[in-house]
């Protein structure tokens, strides 16, 4: 006999789909089948069942081999490392729950560390712009029910957030959008002809690195002012046409991704996109939303902001929270050689950072808390495998529109494995003892 669990939350991307069905064995120990999820989400659930999974912490040895150690030994190494470090960095947090993030913040405060999440290489620039000019946003439910102008700027949900379009943005039939796709106009701004761009009513094929110019041109077009003949490779006439499409909608939304946040202009691109949204509200109702990647990167920003006042790149070394990306952000800390110990959790900087930022990790005391084998676990001194959050343990997560959703536990983790939160609580308690003794 098998059991079917409905309304399961998918712990993969920021869309945080909440309609997954999981079929588990009668004893609740084996996950057999996943329904409704996209291929990436399905893989995430099934990966927890792989037979070659690592279930105990491992220490990197001098000769490059790994030695299995107990969780207690792993706790001791981590706590000692953080107690001795003069500027430790606690990085990641985006693929774990808010409860674990909160314990992590206690550890950060005790060890006077720098702490940062994956926004560092993702939507951190959006957060800078949001602090500069604000963010007129809404929930995904409002978009499903109301939006008739959808703009995807520098993002490709067809591949990165596969169910976003069917659940919220293009196809669903909402309360005021009863004709589904027919009631919406889709504009895609991307230098490449992506699978998302192929579905668009209008594809603005912007020259790479000139999003800022195009956004400025749209603002000029809204006001009917003079425009050059061609901006960012797009004729002025087409820009005016796009401006009219945006202005004529009842409710519009700009979704933006890495294509604008991490290309030339960075935070200024988002700053200008928010200004476009603000301008459009003089004619109609418009919102803007970042397409967050990891399923709980938004939650990490929420927990940081709630506890330290800043959403990422927080520096606690002086005993109070400071924030200035460029100085306190992870890539800069690593490439400039500012830190002397690193703990990574729920993220894979080894795969996503420039190599000049990964090399220092291999040279310093380092811990990687991750259920998977990753490039980061490979370069770290200690690898601590943990239970899959959202599969083998529940916990609070935030969707890309800042809506909190509780993840669900569907199967038991392999025997004796700790969750992120349980391991961090042990580290916190041991660190407290070390700090009190010092």
């Amino acid at each position: 006999m098998t059991k079917t669990i409905t309304d399961v939350i998918c712990p993969f991307c920021g869309t945080l789909c909440d309609d997954i069905e999981v079929i588990v064995s009668d004893d609740g120990k084996k996950l057999l089948e996943v329904n409704n999820a996209c291929v990436i989400g399905t893989e995430k659930f099934l990966h927890s069942q792989s037979s070659d999974r690592i279930t105990r912490p491992r220490m990197h040895q001098e000769d490059g081999s790994w030695k299995e150690i107990s969780y207690d030994e792993a706790v001791e190494y981590t706590a000692q490392m953080l107690a001795k470090a003069r500027k430790p960095l606690l990085f990641g947090w985006s693929s774990t729950n808010c409860e674990a993030q909160s314990v992590g913040n206690e550890i950060a405060e005790m060890s006077r560390a720098c702490c940062d999440n994956t926004a560092a290489t993702c939507h951190g620039t959006s957060l800078i712009a949001i602090q500069d000019v604000g963010l007129p946003s809404c929930t995904l439910g409002e978009i499903k029910n109301r939006a008739d102008r959808i703009i995807f700027w520098g993002c490709n949900p067809a591949h990165a957030h596969p169910r976003h379009m069917s659940r919220y943005s293009i196809f669903p039939r909402g309360f005021f959008t009863g004709k589904g796709q027919m009631s919406r106009k889709l504009i895609v701004v991307d230098p490449r002809v992506t699978d998302t761009a192929k579905m668009a009513d209008m594809h603005l094929q912007v020259e790479q690195g000139k999003d800022y110019e195009l956004l400025d041109a749209l603002r000029v077009a809204f006001k009917g002012e003079w425009l050059p003949d061609v901006v960012a490779g797009i004729p002025g006439e087409k820009i005016r046409e796009a401006a009219d499409v945006m202005k004529s909608g009842r409710f519009g939304i700009i979704f933006f991704g890495m294509g604008v946040t991490q290309t030339l202009g960075k935070n200024h691109n988002i700053d200008a996109a928010i200004a476009v949204t603000k301008d459009l509200n003089e004619y109609t109702k418009f919102s803007i939303m970042p397409m967050r990647g990891h399923y709980n990167v938004t939650g990490s920003g929420e927990v940081f902001a709630w506890q330290f006042g800043f959403p990422y790149a927080v520096d606690l070394t002086r005993g109070f929270a400071r924030y200035n990306p460029g100085d306190t952000s992870t890539i800069d800390l690593l490439t400039r050689g500012e830190i002397d110990a690193m703990l990574t959790i729920g993220s894979d900087p080894g795969a996503h950072f420039p190599i000049s930022a990964v090399k220092p990790i291999a040279k310093m005391p380092s811990v990687c808390i991750d259920p998977h084998l990753t490039p980061t676990s490979g370069v770290s001194k200690l690898h601590v495998p943990v239970a899959f959050n959202g599969v083998e343990t529940g916990g609070n997560c935030y969707r890309m529109d800042n809506v909190p959703i509780d993840c669900r536990k569907v199967v038991e983790p392999p025997e004796g494995m700790l969750t992120d939160e349980e391991f961090l609580i042990k580290v916190r308690d041991r660190l407290k003892q070390l700090k009190e003794a010092a």
Partner: protein
């Protein structure tokens, strides 16, 4: 004016936050007292004397105090932090936040300086003989009030985001600049003798930019209006005059809409 010379003798393993190295913090102190001032390396607080050799007593006030920083200070941040008077000479290259929030006095950096120099500067003078980094004379993160007074002269090149949210004062760069200059500015003046890249004056509300070299990509929000002959630093030249950013909000002064002005040498 009394001179205090501090020379790096024990370089920090990480980076050093030396926010007490300013004429204001040194004023009225003897060399021994100055050596007792705090510095921070990561989460560890220690004394200036642990890293630097201090020679000479400071003057009675900041205005009577001149500081000369010698040795390798490439890993030292916050030199001249919040200074209001006096002089600071940095013999070599140094790191972030040189003269951040400075209100007066004079800083001479003989080497290169890194990002966030003269953050939210209100007055005084910063002269850089080498290159300056990003965010020169810009606002602090989240602040909408950048540099509001004083003068910055960079003999070499400067980085990106210079003069962001600038409201007053002057920045002169003899070399080239990177992307984004005077973004969101509501005043102030930027003179670039070399070339600029792109996104010059984006979202600018008021203020003045004068570029002697080329601009890779002009912002579409800048509208060509006329030609003008200007005298800059004693040299006369002809410039194309643009106003903008037309996409941005603008204030009215005496019934007239005020725009940012961009002059590019013909």
């Amino acid at each position: 004016m009394e001179t205090v010379t501090i020379t790096m003798k024990n370089a920090p393993a990480l980076y050093l936050e030396a926010d007490n190295v300013s004429p204001d913090a040194f004023a009225g102190k003897t060399a021994a007292q100055i050596a007792e001032l705090s510095v921070h390396e990561g989460n560890t607080t220690s004394t200036l004397g642990k890293y630097f050799e201090v020679i000479g007593n400071a003057g009675a006030t900041a205005a009577d105090t001149k500081i000369v920083v010698k040795g390798d200070v490439k890993k030292v941040k916050y030199l001249g932090f919040k200074m209001t008077a006096g002089e600071l000479v940095i013999e070599g290259s140094t790191d972030l936040y040189v003269g951040a929030w400075m209100k007066g006095g004079k800083i001479l950096a003989k080497g290169n300086i890194e990002a966030f120099a003269a953050t939210a500067m209100k007055g005084g003078e910063l002269i850089v003989e080498g290159n300056a980094g990003n965010y020169l004379g810009a606002a602090y993160r989240g602040d909408w009030r950048g540099m509001s007074g004083g003068k910055i002269l960079v003999m070499g090149n400067a980085g990106s985001d210079i003069g962001m949210y600038m409201t007053g004062g002057e920045i002169i760069v003899n070399g080239n600049i990177d992307v984004h200059a005077l973004t969101h500015a509501e005043g102030g003046r930027l003179v670039v003798k070399g070339n600029a890249k792109s996104k010059v004056g984006g979202q600018m509300i008021d203020g003045e930019i004068i570029i002697f070299g080329s601009i890779d990509t002009m912002m579409p929000g800048f509208k060509p209006v006329s030609e003008a002959e200007l005298e800059v630093d004693g040299a006369k030249a002809k410039f194309s005059h643009f106003i903008g950013d037309m996409g941005e909000r603008h204030k009215k002064r005496k019934g007239q809409i005020v725009y940012g002005n961009l002059y590019k040498k013909i």
